[in-house]
Symmetry: C2
C-alpha cells in the first residue's frame, strides 16, 4: 500500500494557503501519516551591510511566524516540536528540513502560470528539483 | 474530504516508471478515483526537411506505445478509452490531456537533481508550471 509516513507541509500563510493545509491535513488523516509544519522566513535583502534594526525586524518576523504556526498546529493537532520556523532561502530550507526529519512527502502550493512566482521563479519547481522524496504541489487559484 | 476524482498518470515506460504506476494505482484505489494513462511520443527532431522514413518510424513508435499502454491498462484495469498515446512535446501534451479529460491530479516521475533531465530541463517542472490541477511528482531513484 502507498503510505506516506511523514508529510511536511510548507505554508506561507497567504490567503489561499488554507487549501494546501486542508489537503495536507486530510491526506495525513487518510494515510495515518505524521504531519509536520514549516514556515520559512526569507532573510531581509542584504545591501552589503546590515541596516540599523534589520536583525530586530527578522526576529520579529520569526516570532510572528511562530505564533501563526502554533495557532495552525493547534487546529491540526500538530505538536510544538513538529512545527518549524526557519530563516533562509525558501527553496533550500524546505528540502533541508524534509531531509532532516525524514519526510517522504512534501506538500507545497503552486501558483502555476499566472502568479508572481512566474516572474520570480517558482518555489515548487525548485523543491521538486531538489527534494529526495515525492512532492505534491497544490494548485492555488490566483486572482488574475 | 480530499478526493481526487480523476487521476492522469503519465508514464515514459522507463525501468523505474513502475514506481510511478504503482503509486498512481494505489492512490486511485484508496480514493476511488478514475484512472487514465498517458504516454507521449516526442516528435522526431526536425532538420528542416523530413528524412526518408521518419513518418513511418513515428508511426511505429506510436503503435509500440499503444501496445505497452494496453498491457499496462490490462494490469490496472484501465479501459481502452482511458489510455492516451499522444505525439508532441511531453510537457505540453501532459497538461493538454489533463485539461481535456478534466483530471484533478497528474502523477509524473521526477529525476530530481541527478538525472539527465537536470541538463535537459525537467518535464515535471514544466507540468507543475502549466497544470491547472494538483501534481504529484514521484521521486525516481536514478543510478548515479
Amino acid at each position: 500500500m502507498v503510505k506516506y509516513t511523514h508529510i511536511l507541509v510548507a505554508s506561507d500563510f497567504t490567503d489561499n494557503s488554507g487549501m494546501v493545509i486542508k489537503k495536507a491535513e486530510e491526506l495525513a488523516k487518510q494515510m495515518g501519516s505524521h504531519l509536520s509544519l514549516l514556515h520559512v522566513v526569507e532573510p531581509l535583502p542584504g545591501y552589503g551591510y546590515a541596516f540599523v534594526g534589520s536583525a530586530e525586524i527578522e526576529l520579529q518576523l520569526v516570532e510572528e511566524a511562530k505564533r501563526q504556526l502554533a495557532k495552525l498546529g493547534k487546529q491540526l493537532n500538530v505538536k510544538d516540536n513538529d512545527q518549524y520556523v526557519e530563516v533562509g532561502p525558501t527553496k533550500i530550507e524546505i528540502t533541508r528540513v524534509a531531509e532532516e526529519i525524514g519526510a517522504d512527502l512534501i506538500i507545497v502550493g503552486s501558483h502555476g502560470r499566472h502568479g508572481l512566482s512566474n516572474l520570480l521563479g517558482s518555489t515548487a519547481n525548485a523543491v521538486i528539483h531538489n527534494a529526495d522524496c515525492d512532492v505534491l504541489t497544490v494548485r492555488l487559484k490566483d486572482k488574475i
